[in-house]
Every structure is written in C-alpha cells, then in structure tokens.
C-alpha cells in the first residue's frame, strides 16, 4: 500500500478511460449518444495490436487503432443521423459488431509481442518531490498526451467558435441550422472524433497499459464505464478527466488491499481468503453506479442536464433525409 505507486498506476489506467470518455463527450455534445464505445475500443485495441505486430512500428499501430475506431463509429453515424434509427439500439449493435469483428480478425494474436508505446521521464519535472514520481516518471507517452489533451478539449468545447457550433448542434439543432451551421456534417464529424478516441483508448490498453490481446477480456467493460463517466462528468472534459484518474487510482488501490497480511492492526480478511477478491473485483462496477447516482442527483439539483437534443435525430422540416 504505497500512495505513490497507486496514484502512478491510477494515472496510467485512468488514461484509458480518459480518452474514451472525452471522445464520448464530443459525440454526446453534438447530440449523438454512442453506446458502442466498448466495441470501438475492442476493435481499436485489436487493430493497434495487430498493426504494430505486423509492421513492427507502434506509431502505425496507434494510427490503425484510431482509424478503426473512427470508421466503425461512422456506421453508427449513418444509421442514427441519416436513417434516424434509435441511438440506443444502434449503439448496442455497434458493440456487438465491434466485438465480433475484433474477435474474428484478432484470431491468434494472443501471446504475441509487438513493439509497445515507449515510456520515459520528463526531464526536470520528474525531480519534483512526490509530484515528479507520480506524474512525470516512467509513464507511457500516451499518459503525457492525455495531460495535454484534457485542457485542449475543454478549451475547444467552451472557448472556441467551432466548439460553440458543436454545442449548438447538440442543444438546438434547428437554431444552429438556421444560422447556417451544417448540423448533419458536424454530427458525423464528432461521432467520428468520438470513435477515433475510443479506438485510441483501446490501443492504450493493448499497446501500453496492459499490453497484449486477451479477446473480450482486453477491455472487460471499460467502454461501458467510460459511458457512465460521461454522465458523472456532466459532459465536461475536465470532470471526465478527474473521474477517469480517480477511477484508475481507486481501482488500483482496491486491488492492493489484497497484499498485506495486516490492515489497520487487524488480520486482513482478503489476505486470508482470496475468494473475497471477487468482491474487490466488483468495486469498479459498484463505483460506476454510485458515480451515476451522484452525477444524476447533482444534475437534477443544478438543473444541469444532458445536451437538450441528445438522442434525438434532427429532421429538417418534414423531409428528413
């Protein structure tokens, strides 16, 4: 039980959720709920892993993961934006589709060792006591990318003109349309951005945080946790990042509870009977439910809600398509 180690590991695993959740923030801010995050992540994890293995180049692997997630998300875009299908059902089928594709194309990848994303220290910053070892030492490049990405995403959404258009499309698409904003085009774009980030999140698992291909165990429900985080985060990248890192750290801290024989001066029941570990494994899922309850209550009190047009297809006039 070492706080430094727990926080360090939390930042690494939190980066997975961070990319996926912020990607979903973009998509939902544009008014498209995409429940297919789990499927896109798994496909991204597979595409990244196999490309890195085949080419020996991890950067091509990351690129492949991003593109794979993005392309898969376009299927959701087509069905929900143009065919006005129910976004919930379409997102679910995207999960099936992504999972199925990843399993079929990922046959025989288990146990292989492709090049991975490099880890390194940030010179200078890593020397700061406590903060250095936690934030700037021996992290994968993707973790550092995550640090930079969060404020950029926030700034883009809340402080730039394209970001304002993004929010308008999700809040009042008809008004945005009247102002000459391309509602359909922007929705496609941000669904695609969300898919790309989910793909990257998948590759963050398979090429960095817990390298390898373990079929559906690779993501083990993290895509769904990311979708839950977005609600907890009230569609704000900063809160999403906070939630993602907190989640990562809690997850690691809880696993570490199994280690010591004595805890707070008492015999550690988890150490004596490892079967109680099943309850530990439940905690991420219980925490997600709790986070949702808290997020929903806060949202109700502050009258903060989802983007007003979230889940609704935009139909211009009567013609629709």
């Amino acid at each position: 039980m070492n706080l430094e180690i727990i926080l360090h590991a939390g930042l690494a695993t939190g980066t997975i959720l961070l990319f996926a959740a912020i990607g979903e923030v973009f998509s939902e801010r544009a008014g498209v709920l995409n429940l297919g995050v789990e499927g896109m992540m798994l496909l991204g994890a597979m595409a990244g892993f196999s490309t890195s293995l085949a080419t020996g180049n991890v950067w091509l692997g990351l690129l492949a993961a991003i593109i794979a997630g993005g392309i898969l998300s376009l299927a959701h875009g087509l069905v929900t934006i143009h065919f006005q299908a129910d976004q919930v059902v379409s997102g679910l089928s995207l999960t099936f589709l992504g999972t199925g594709l990843a399993l079929v194309l990922g046959e025989g990848l288990t146990g292989k060792n492709p090049p991975l994303v490099p880890s390194f220290n940030i010179p200078g910053l890593s020397a700061i006591p406590f903060i250095g070892p936690v934030f700037f030492t021996d992290h994968s490049l993707l973790v550092y990318v995550g640090y930079l990405f969060v404020p950029l995403a926030w700034y883009f959404i809340f402080r730039t003109r394209p970001g304002m258009h993004l929010r308008a499309v999700g809040e009042k698409p008809d008004a945005a349309d009247t102002m000459g904003v391309n509602v359909y085009g922007l929705r496609y774009l941000y669904v695609f951005v969300g898919g790309c980030l989910a793909g990257l999140a998948g590759a963050t698992i398979s090429l960095s945080v817990s390298p390898g291909w373990y079929s559906t165990q690779t993501t083990s429900g993290q895509g769904w946790i990311a979708v839950g985080l977005v609600i907890f985060a009230q569609w704000d990248p900063l809160r999403a990042a906070f939630g993602a890192y907190l989640f990562g750290a809690l997850r690691r801290g809880i696993l570490d509870l199994q280690g010591p024989a004595f805890l707070l001066g008492m015999k550690n029941p988890l150490y004596i009977n490892s079967n109680y570990g099943f309850f530990l494994q439940m905690t991420p899922y219980v925490l997600t439910i709790l986070a949702l309850v808290i997020g929903s209550r806060q949202a109700a009190r502050k009258r903060l809600g989802a983007p007003a047009a979230l889940g609704l297809p935009y139909i211009r006039g009567e013609r629709g398509l």
Binding site: F83, V89, S93, F96, T99, V104, Y285, T288, I289, G320
Partner: protein, 373 residues
C-alpha cells in the same frame, strides 16, 4: 454524372402495410448472412462450406433440431424480458445479470436445501421456478428504483449489475459450494432436473438422446403471458402508452415511477426464469459461464421480432441455431459478428417503415413515378 431519376424520401402518412415489418426483418437477416459470407471470404474462409455445416449442425437431424430448441429456450424468455422493457422504452441491458441471479436463487433451493431433496419433483421444481423469478426480479428492482426515484440512467446500471452478478456467482461456486475445488457446485439431485424427452427413451425409442426439456413449455407459457399482459391487460396498455408518449401517460394519471419499477422487475423475473430453466434443464448444477451471452442476444431478438412476443419465439429459434453452430464454427467471433450485422440491418431497415422511397424520373413528359414500398 447525372442520374436520370432522383430518389426522394417521403414521410409515410398512411399505415404501414402489414407485411412490411416482417419483410424488413427477414430481409435484414438474409443480407446479414450475405455480408458475413463476404467477410468470411475476404479473410480466407469458405462461406459455402460453413453455411452447409451451419444447416446440418442445426436442423440436419432430430437431435440437431432438439439441440437448437434447447438453445432457443432461454433465448425466448430473455427475448421476452427485453421485449416488455423495451415496450416502455426502458433499456434493460441487464438480462444477462438477471439470468445469473435467477440461476443462483433457483440453486439455493437445492444447495441450502430449502426443502428435503426427496420431496416430489413438482415441489422442488415449482420452488425453483419461483426462486428464479424472485432472484431476477430483485436484480431488476435495483436499476428500476434508481431510474424511477433518482433518474439514474438504467442502461449503465443494468450493465454494471451484469458484471456484479457474474462475480457474485463466482464467489459462491469457487468457495462455499465448490465441488472438490472445481469452479462448479456438485450436480443437483435428479428431483431438481426438468424432465427431458430422453428420460422417456425406454417407452419411446425415438426419444433416446433427445435433450429437449420442459423448459421449452415454460418458455411458451411465458410467451402467452407476456402477449396477454401487453395486448389484453390494462397494465400493458399503460406500459405501451408510457413508451409511446411519456407526457400523455403522465396526464392520463399513470403512475410512471411505479410502472418503471414493476416493469423492470417483471423483465428481470423473465430473465431469471431463463436462468432457472438453463441450470435445471441443461447444466444441472451452478457453474461458471452458464450463459454465452444470452442476455445480450435477447436484445437483438426483441428488436428483430419488432417487440412481438410470438415473433420472439421464431427469432429465438434462429438465434438458437446460431449459437449451436457458432460453438464449432471457426473463427469463434463469427456468430457474434453475424448478430451485430443483423441488428444493424434491422434498425437501418426501419427507415422503410417510416418513409416511402420514391424514384422520380427527371425530364420525362409523362413524369411517371415509380414507387417502392
């Protein structure tokens, strides 16, 4: 390039023709099979051989048909569970977890045991049915209350509860009820088994090796009950009205919070019943992986059946066949991929139910219009 005609989508004002929903569902399945075949070809497989194998493994003999029906049995109940929830636009993605908890609760009857194990079969099995439904309903109650009272998104909560249910199940089968350290309980007493056709092989030769069990009858009874609730009862009317128009339902004085909780519990009870049927009719013990994702397949089934209880039965047989064949088809994800494509085709084709497609000829003096669907 300029096409000689233009395609227009027109909002459908008249009623949808009766045959169209069924036609889009069947068409979706056919197209999905073709697309999967193409994908299989592209990655170097032999679609025709796989197809032939698929048919033989699922409908090629009486034993194969029985296998398919055995797999269809839990799917029918889980499909019904999703149907009733989706009618109210409640996205119960948690049938998988409700299935596990239903199986767990039904096992309690034997494992505690709640009644002496030499009691008559109908007592034990009756109690298992009740416990299975209670277990599933309890697991549906949690997201129901969270949704009804606190407005918490039920998609995520039901999904998280799936993982929790499987881990809960594992805790018991790895631990207290483990059979000599294996990850399963000891086999149940024969009195806790649903009767199978094979049990009567001595009287009727043809039944030997036929594993079809009483669960299929339970599933069909459940189908009629769900149909009755939805189409003939006042509660069903409330469910459908709330699903179609929540505001109208509120003004009509329908207690939406109560209905959310009740529908989630009913849905959970049906999924729990599926879990009971599977352990009592097929596995005969509680163990890991009693479901290869039945709960998720139920979602696709409900949608493909257009939320019609009787159509759920037919679609479940098709998906039962997919599971039977999928166990042996390589690569292993193929069945799942096929399911994903089918669902995508179904929801895409729904556009045909809402719009008419018109092909309008340009520059033609007759200005003839060709109408499709």
């Amino acid at each position: 390039m300029k096409l000689p005609f233009t395609v227009m989508f027109e909002k459908r004002m008249d009623d949808v023709p009766k045959w169209l929903p069924a036609a889009t569902s069947i068409g979706s399945v056919v197209i999905a099979f073709i697309i999967s075949g193409i994908i299989l070809k592209l990655i170097g497989g032999q679609p025709m051989r796989v197809g032939k194998f698929f048919f033989e493994a699922t409908f090629g003999s009486w034993a194969a048909v029985s296998d398919t029906l055995v797999k269809a049995t839990p799917l029918i109940m889980v499909g019904l569970a999703c149907t009733i929830a989706f009618k109210m636009k409640l996205w119960n993605i948690g049938a998988e977890g409700q299935f596990y908890i239903g199986a767990f609760a039904a096992s309690l009857v034997v494992l505690i045991p709640m009644v002496p194990l030499d009691s008559p079969r109908f007592v034990i099995i009756g109690l298992m049915i009740i416990m299975g439904m209670i277990g599933g309903a309890a697991w549906g109650f949690i997201p129901g209350v969270l949704k009804g009272k606190f407005g918490v998104n039920e998609i995520i909560t039901t999904l998280m509860l799936n993982y929790i249910a499987i881990l809960w199940n594992n805790f018991w089968i790895f631990n207290k009820w483990s059979d000599a350290g294996f990850q399963m309980t000891p086999p149940f007493e024969k009195t806790a088994w649903l009767p199978r056709l094979a049990d009567y092989a001595r009287e009727y030769k043809a039944f030997s090796g036929i594993t079809l069990h009483l669960g299929v009858v339970i599933a069909l009874v459940a189908t009629v009950v769900v149909w009755w609730v939805l189409e003939r009862s006042r509660w069903g009317y409330e469910i459908k009205l709330t699903g179609d128009n929540k505001e109208a339902a509120r003004y009509a004085g329908i207690n939406i919070v109560r209905n959310i909780i009740l529908v989630m519990m009913f849905s959970g009870a049906l999924a729990g019943l599926a879990g009971m049927s599977e352990i009592s009719g097929v596995v005969h013990r509680l163990q890991e992986r009693i479901s290869p994702g039945y709960g998720f397949t139920g979602i696709i089934i409900a949608w493909l059946a257009k939320l019609n209880p009787f159509a759920v039965v037919l679609v479940s047989i098709l998906f039962g066949a997919l599971i039977v064949a999928g166990r042996e088809i390589q690569p292993s994800g193929l069945a799942q991929l096929l399911q994903g494509i089918i669902l995508f085709m179904v929801i895409s084709s729904d556009v045909l139910l809402r719009y008419k497609i018109r092909f309008i000829r340009l520059h033609s003096p007759a200005a003839g219009e060709v109408e499709v669907a």
